[in-house]
């Protein structure tokens, strides 16, 4: 079974530029998450999708971050404009998440963003 796919793996941009990350979850997984992991810290949840709807985006800095999951499969996370403090690894995770069951989240390899 293929895992969670993310691209690009690395991205270097200058502050005030925009950037987008892509995630393809495990096939059949209804729930998708985006996390931000700053160096030396644990991942922090940014947004959760159930199919193509947002469940929780309370920790997403909406003035500059946006995310969508059209058609309930792939998802994109965008930052516009980027700030120096956005330098981090952006992780995508998915789980089966049907019927309200609690189950395991599986993580992709992440995208390492450096803002100069």
């Amino acid at each position: 079974e293929a895992g969670v796919a993310q691209s690009p793996r690395y991205k270097i941009i200058e502050k005030r530029q925009s950037v987008a990350f892509w995630c393809n979850p495990i096939s059949g997984h209804a729930t998708l998450y985006w996390y931000q992991q700053i160096l030396g810290q644990g991942p922090k949840l940014l947004i959760q999708f159930q199919n193509n709807g947002v469940v929780d985006d309370s920790q997403l800095p909406k003035d500059r971050f946006s995310a969508e999951r059209l058609k309930g499969v792939d998802s994109t996370l965008k930052i516009q404009p980027a700030k120096l403090e956005d330098s981090a690894v952006y992780l995508c995770a998915s789980r089966v998440g049907r019927g309200g069951r609690v189950d395991t989240q599986y993580f992709g390899p992440g995208t390492r963003l450096t803002v100069l």
Partner: protein, 110 residues
């Protein structure tokens, strides 16, 4: 929100040694997962263990939900065990949204 504390923050072992990592959490949870983040940054699932005990090879984990802690045991450590170990929990009725601890950074020396 829920607080998740891991100890110790850093651990250096000689190859072959055993270790215990601890995760304390501040509220009732219905999901607890242990992850290993390898040196390349990939988060690898070790255990889904909201309660009880599980074993997988040289690793085992125990969660005592009523006392709000979980333990990860590593026996006969190998250099490939190096990396960061994270505990992550989700509250009841919180949509399985995980809150991560700060991690335990493990280095196993040959």
């Amino acid at each position: 929100g829920i607080q998740v504390e891991q100890s110790p923050p850093d651990l250096i072992l000689q190859e072959g040694a055993n270790s215990t990592l601890r995760c304390n959490f501040s509220d009732s949870v219905n999901n607890l997962q242990w992850f290993h983040q390898n040196p390349w940054g990939q988060l690898i699932n070790l255990f889904y263990i909201p309660s009880g005990t599980k074993q997988n090879g040289r690793l085992s984990a125990t969660t005592v939900a009523t006392e709000r802690y979980s333990l990860l045991y590593i026996s006969s450590s190998q250099t490939t065990d190096s990396g960061v170990y994270f505990c992550a929990v989700a509250l009841y009725n919180a949509g399985n949204m995980l809150t991560f601890g700060g991690g335990t950074r493990l280095m196993v020396k040959p």
